[in-house]
């Protein structure tokens, strides 16, 4: 089986999407699946990179989209890639019955804010003749900065859910409901996430030596 993990974050290998996507990818590799990775933002900057991603997409039995929620949907470059894949499928029928899975995280506490983006991916799968394998959606993605160890309990439950997902996908199944439930569970109380988040913005401003206040209005209106 050939699997392609497409990372939709502009931060590439420094992103939470990479952590989650490679968590599934490495679990697949441990089970004998050939895994390739594609950094969508980077590859779409050139015709050569775009062609490479499209060829990888076409030759994969399983594609996993790992991305951050951007304005309730997929980041624009990932949307562009899906448009290009769909245009290509118009010309060449999908070989076999490739599957599509998703792992998405958002910066808001509620995982359900990812539902529309997941629906878009599912509709894309239907449109291009892929089989839908399900989605993992996580809120509080801001907690995932670079290290599972920063999560409550050392992130063991999330790692276990990723492993169970890889196990199911490797044997041709769908993403298990149990893993979806673990992902959807808040990592901490909502009030704590928003409190630390609001504090975090100010700390980052200080670190970045921002010259204007947090609520500055550069385009007028006082």
């Amino acid at each position: 089986m050939n699997a392609l993990i497409l990372v939709g974050s502009p931060k590439g290998r420094k992103s939470a999407s990479w952590m989650l996507g490679s968590g599934i990818g490495e679990g697949l590799r441990d089970r004998g699946v050939t895994v390739q990775y594609g950094m969508v933002h980077h590859e779409l900057r050139s015709g050569e990179g775009t062609g490479k991603l499209l060829d990888l997409f076409d030759s994969s039995d399983l594609v996993v989209l790992a991305f951050p929620l951007y304005v309730d949907s997929l980041p624009a470059p990932l949307t562009r890639l899906l448009e290009l894949v769909a245009e290509r499928k118009d010309r060449t029928a999908a070989a076999g019955n490739p599957r599509l899975g998703v792992v998405v995280q958002c910066g808001f506490p509620e995982a359900h804010q990812c539902d529309t983006a997941i629906g878009i991916c599912r509709r894309f799968a239907g449109f291009t003749g892929m089989r839908w394998a399900g989605a993992l959606a996580m809120g509080m993605g801001g907690s995932l900065e670079g290290d599972f160890g920063r999560l409550p309990g050392g992130g063991k439950k999330i790692l276990d859910a990723l492993n169970k997902t890889a196990e199911a996908l490797a044997r041709g199944g769908d993403i298990p409901d149990e893993a979806k439930a673990v992902f959807a569970r808040p990592l901490m109380p909502r009030w704590l996430y928003t409190l630390t988040g609001n504090l975090g913005w100010r700390l980052k401003m200080r670190k970045n030596k921002a010259q204007s206040p947090i609520g500055y209005r550069p385009y007028g209106q006082g």
Partner: protein, 190 residues
Amino acid sequence: MKALVLDGCREGDYLAMEAVLEMTTALAGRVDDVEVVKLRELVISACAGCFGCWTRTPGECVVQDDAATVLRSYLGSDVVAYITPVTFGGYSSLLKMMLDRCIPLLDPRFTIVGGEVHHLLRYRRYPKTIVLGTLPSPDAEAERLFASLVARNGFNFHRTFEAEVLVGVPDPPSARQCAERLLDRIGVSA
């Protein structure tokens, strides 16, 4: 009163281009000034996800390209219309590229809107927003997702965005009716 049309269609997409034309005509009958921005002709790079617009130069993206000009125009408008082919239930990548760059319009701090966490508003006033999507043939699932996406985008700005989907081959009267209905729904009259 000023209106801004964000044209998110590609050259050759005659249905969406018809929607742009009819929306522009409908707006011209109701407001003083209509600006049409063809996103396909601008240089707008993808959001880098750096949050520089919140934590380095609050309210302004650190990347200087055409997006900044569009944002100024957006805030200076009373009505904004997005026009896009419905793409698997979402926006075209052209429109999405611009919308991803709109986050400097919001304040990073969290607040509760409709029982969910969203961001605070940075500005006192935002334009009324309408969205006209196009589909070459009926697709109930894509239409449902599109309505959901537009509604969720409205939550981000603590208000209601109105949407319509124009289905079928290019047909000026139908496109015009969709545009007029949207303007009626946000209370923009001649």
